[in-house]
Symmetry: C3
Subunit: 156 residues, 3 copies
């Protein structure tokens, strides 16, 4: 790994993990043409779940931001595999779908999912990293994690 994006990841101190194996009967990503659809990623860090709980309750907005950032790191780890190791092939971050495990009165979903969006912009820059997004509240999430983020990417 020695491309432009690999260097930026190193600058940012981000060490992409070995991608998580799905916890169910599906695959981490599907490539159709130039588009990579990546399954919803949760807050797995070196094989351990982090950020278990709800926004609006035991998880603060700051922790939620870090949780979403971790989901985005896991998206990048899958994307790197989809690109045969070369993230310089990424032409556009198209869409992130962000789900926040939260209480009924929580309103700061954008600030939480910014953790994922900011990472994409830091890694890929303003042009390639800018993406469309939906950020909504989930009644609950798999294994009790605070955030889940799925992604759609264009590669060359």
């Amino acid at each position: 790994m020695s491309g432009i994006i690999a260097a930026r990841l190193e600058q940012l101190g981000i060490d992409l993990p070995t991608p998580a194996v799905p916890v169910a009967s599906y695959v981490p990503f599907v490539i159709v043409g130039d588009m990579v659809t990546i399954s919803g990623q949760i807050t797995m860090d070196s094989g351990q779940l982090k950020y278990i709980g709800k926004l609006g309750d035991e998880i603060s907005v700051e922790e939620g931001y870090e949780a979403a950032r971790l989901c985005a790191v896991n998206l990048l780890a899958q994307l790197q595999v989809a690109c045969n190791g070369d993230l310089d092939r990424v032409k556009q971050v198209v869409r992130l779908g962000g789900f926040v495990n939260c209480t009924a009165d929580f309103t700061d979903h954008p600030k939480v999912i910014n953790g994922a969006s900011d990472l994409m912009q830091e890694v890929f820059g303003d042009q390639i990293g800018s993406h469309a997004r939906a950020a909504v509240g989930a009644a609950s999430l798999p294994l009790g994690v605070a955030t889940e983020v799925e992604g759609l990417f264009e590669i060359g």
Copy 2:
């Protein structure tokens, strides 16, 4: 603006707003090839949030319908920018993703998100305006709004 769709919007009495700036670190839409992916739009009306609250509680189904319609107007405002001002370039409304901020026992999500779907059919007609859709309940939504709708469109 003087196309067929512009005329229909005028007939319908719909004045597209200046598109809202995202409340977070992402962009309103991304174009890849002929496909426009538009970020989740909320109930912003002339710079003011409307329809704050939950379906099944303080927001009626009729108000929810209007909330979803307002989200769809905001989708069109973004789409108009994506089309360089010419909505006649829209070839197909492909998908709407509708999220309803609601109580645990609410069941009328379809009637609510119809506010967005009906608008698409009114503006673009039965062929271009017909779209696939998902309508689900959210534990809560950004800033406490009653509805959020994202969209996927094909343009020419």
Copy 3:
């Protein structure tokens, strides 16, 4: 109907229903190029709703699995129409979006949505049937159903 996939459906004892008419102002699917986007399907079985209720409450994980499988059968029924009756035209199951109507402390969304994912793999095999996925908890779902699943498919 006499193709490879039709034979597999018969082997599996799956009789695809006449596709459900949407309960609202949208269409069951939209085709753009080779991509079929199918609206969120619920637990309609021969014109009757099944699996009404919440995971974590009156619906068990096993029932939720069957509910998601039923949603997937309904996706296939729509997909068959999109393929003019010939499911052998399906080149890839690209993405399933799975929503689980559940309590705030439910954590087994993956096991539930596996009901839909497993069906795709049984019907289309490991290559074509493998897909990306998001599985999240919904505060509630249309008509009170336990699961809703939408899908994206590539056809040839």
